[in-house]
């Protein structure tokens, strides 16, 4: 008799995703949970008994300083991200659409700085921007500045932090935009040309909208890590380039460890970045769906 066939258990998806998911749980979700526990005193670096409390969150919300520092970091990151995308787009456009035979060689040259240490690349800027660095020495030689009157704001300043971050992230940002432009259907550009669109119109009405997912991905790619950046500000930021990430690092590592406040700041950063990413993704989803007919 033809009975019901036993349903075969499909283990393909669990088999493929199981390990990455377990990895994510063990090394991402669990640590976040631990940080959350520190933020409400379930765990504490101090061995004495202590009740669970939201005091850390309360202090954070009512502190003018931490939120101000957060928004300062967001502003700096937004500016860095916009500048990087504006600089990277033409480079990626040329590589993807110019038809040059050497496109992959040029791409390799673009990402060549990755072959050197991140720290070395940042430290190199100290040599360039210092009071007796390359820029100031050039200004002395030109006679624009006297030798004992260098442009001191070049280094140990907010400007230095943003400049170095742009330099460090430019190759990273060019790549997703390049990929996005590379996969563009060239027939659409031909069609635009057939319909008497100028190059600028074709770019504005065809190329740019279709490359937007890559642009947004690139923007997020640099915005998210730079909001929490602390290495570059600590090396070239001086007192005015101090960022939110430095505060988190200091709360955990120096003076008198305050892991509770550090955990609160870290979780707040995570929540805000997740929120902003969600907003951007939704915006992108709406643009891709297009207007309803």
């Amino acid at each position: 008799m033809a009975g019901r066939r036993r349903k075969r258990l499909d283990l393909t998806t669990p088999g493929l995703l199981g390990l990455p998911v377990m990895w994510l749980v063990a090394f991402f979700l669990v640590p976040i949970g631990i940080v959350g526990a520190y933020s409400i005193d379930i765990f504490s670096i101090y061995p004495a008994k202590h009740p669970v409390t939201l005091a850390g969150w309360d202090d954070f919300v009512h502190s003018a300083i931490y939120l101000k520092l957060f928004w300062k970091s967001v502003r700096m990151s937004l500016l860095v991200s916009v500048v990087v995308v504006l600089l990277a787009y033409p480079v990626a456009y040329y590589l993807a659409l110019s038809g040059t035979k050497r496109k992959y060689v040029l791409l390799l040259i673009l990402i060549a700085p990755f072959l050197t240490s991140y720290l070395l690349r940042v430290l190199a800027w100290k040599v360039i921007l210092g009071s007796n660095g390359v820029v100031n020495s050039f200004l002395y030689w030109l006679g624009v500045r006297a030798h004992d009157d260098p442009v001191s704001q070049l280094l140990y300043s907010r400007f230095a932090v943003m400049l170095v971050l742009v330099y460090v992230w430019l190759p990273f940002v060019a790549l997703p935009i390049f990929v996005s432009l590379e996969t563009l259907d060239r027939h659409l550009l031909e069609a635009a040309s057939d319909l008497y669109a100028s190059r600028w119109q074709a770019f504005r009405r065809v190329t740019l909208p279709l490359s937007l997912p890559g642009v947004v991905a690139a923007f997020l790619f640099v915005f998210i890590p730079t909001v929490g950046e602390f290495v570059t500000p600590s090396l070239v930021g001086g007192t005015s380039g101090y960022m939110y990430g430095n505060q988190i690092s200091d709360l955990f590592g120096t003076g008198f460890p305050d892991w509770r406040t550090g955990s609160v700041l870290a979780l707040f950063l995570l929540l805000m970045v997740a929120l902003l990413t969600g907003v951007f993704a939704r915006f992108l989803g709406m643009r891709q769906a297009g207007p309803a007919h």
Binding site: P47, K68, L69, G130, S131, Y156, T239, G253, F256, D258
Partner: protein, 368 residues
């Protein structure tokens, strides 16, 4: 080589064998108890393995503990680095059990009360009698010797004499607006302490809420003149040498280093008094290598190590017989001036009951 293999392959020195024989045989004869002989064996067995040291980078070098190897040939301590006391505390709290570690004098009480340390047995440190008595006393808590002083120095002001002309010998040079953008402060809550001395408070290491607010306000208001907060001495020295800085909160070794680079520099002890720090070697609680640890502390306190420290790192050594060969260092450390480390000319770092508050306020200065 793993710990187990080291245990099996450890070569007993003649001294050890004699001690073992005496302990085992003598105890057996006199007391007739196998337990005493076993205890001697157990003691030696417990003391095997590498000495675990938690120390600052640069302090792992052999000349600083050379005589330890004379006592325990072929045995080298295993050194893990700490970057500051908070870092050390976090490591201890996470379960790391060093036999010895080195916070500075202001943290002796904190660590003595933490449950992570135990007092030294002064009788086992033969060089203790040569150490500066003021510093030795600073390492005591509740009458017990918790810290063995080794390195020390001042926190004062380094400045370029060709660029800077102070109007007074005062901490106010650290916020002299004539040199705005050429000043560096140390990234440490001690900035609130010198601010307290500048403002004339009675107990800058234990300021009241109002006093702390005033100290913080001073620092925030003057912060715009400061180019950098340094946490790495190398960064500060590089910035000073390259001309980015003319004035810095600094240590005596920094003065020696800048002089060595040919800069015209002075090291000013402010009239309000310089601050002073002393490195305190502390003993891990329940260490299974107590004898080794005491030998290590004794090695560090020896004249040989002390002279090396002074001549190579430009820090003072607690051993009163030590003298640096550099006349510059001799001068800047005021080694031959017995009053240099006493109040009111210098304020040795000490326990701060409100350290958490100071730390928070200092973080707010940086974030502002």
């Amino acid at each position: 080589m793993g710990e187990g293999e080291k245990l099996l392959e450890r070569r007993f020195s003649r001294e050890d064998l004699l001690k073992l024989a005496a302990a085992a045989g003598g105890a057996g004869l006199l007391a007739g108890r196998a337990g005493a002989a076993n205890a001697a064996l157990a003691r030696l067995a417990k003391e095997s393995g590498q000495l675990q040291v938690l120390d600052w980078a640069g302090y792992e070098v052999k000349p600083l503990w050379a005589t330890y190897q004379k006592k325990y040939p072929g045995e080298k301590p295993k050194v893990t680095f700490m970057t500051n006391e908070a870092n050390a505390f976090a490591k201890l709290r996470a379960g790391f059990k060093p036999d010895v570690f080195r916070p500075y004098v202001g943290y002796v009480r904190d660590f003595a009360e933490s449950g992570f340390t135990q007092p030294w047995d002064p009788k086992l440190i033969t060089n203790l009698k040569y150490l500066n008595p003021t510093m030795v006393k600073a390492g005591q808590y509740n009458g017990k010797q918790y810290g063995i002083p080794n390195d020390w120095g001042f926190d004062a002001i380094l400045y370029r004499t060709d660029k800077v002309h102070p109007t007074a010998k005062s901490w106010s040079l650290l916020f002299d607006k004539r040199y705005s953008g050429k000043i560096a402060w140390y990234d440490d809550l001690n900035q609130l302490v010198w601010a307290g001395y500048y403002l004339g408070f009675k107990q800058p290491y234990n300021q009241t809420d109002d006093e702390l607010k005033r100290s913080q306000k001073l620092l925030i208001s003057k912060k715009k003149m400061v180019r950098m907060f340094w946490s790495s001495e190398t960064d500060m020295q590089n910035a000073f040498a390259s001309g980015d800085l003319w004035i810095a909160y600094a240590w005596p070794a920094d003065w020696v280093a800048m002089k060595g680079k040919g800069l015209k520099v002075a090291y000013m002890h402010p009239r309000e008094g310089a601050l002073s720090w002393i490195g305190m070697l502390m003993l891990g609680k329940g260490t299974p290598r107590s004898e080794h640890a005491h030998a290590y502390a004794d090695a560090w306190s020896s004249l040989q190590s002390s002279n090396w420290l002074e001549n190579n790192y430009g820090y003072g050594a607690a051993n009163t017989k030590a003298r640096p060969t550099s006349k510059d260092l001799l001068k800047v450390l005021k080694v031959t001036d017995p009053g240099a480390l006493r109040e009111p000319r210098a304020h040795i770092d000490r326990y701060m009951p409100r350290r958490a508050q100071y730390a928070r306020l200092w973080q707010e200065v940086k974030a502002s």
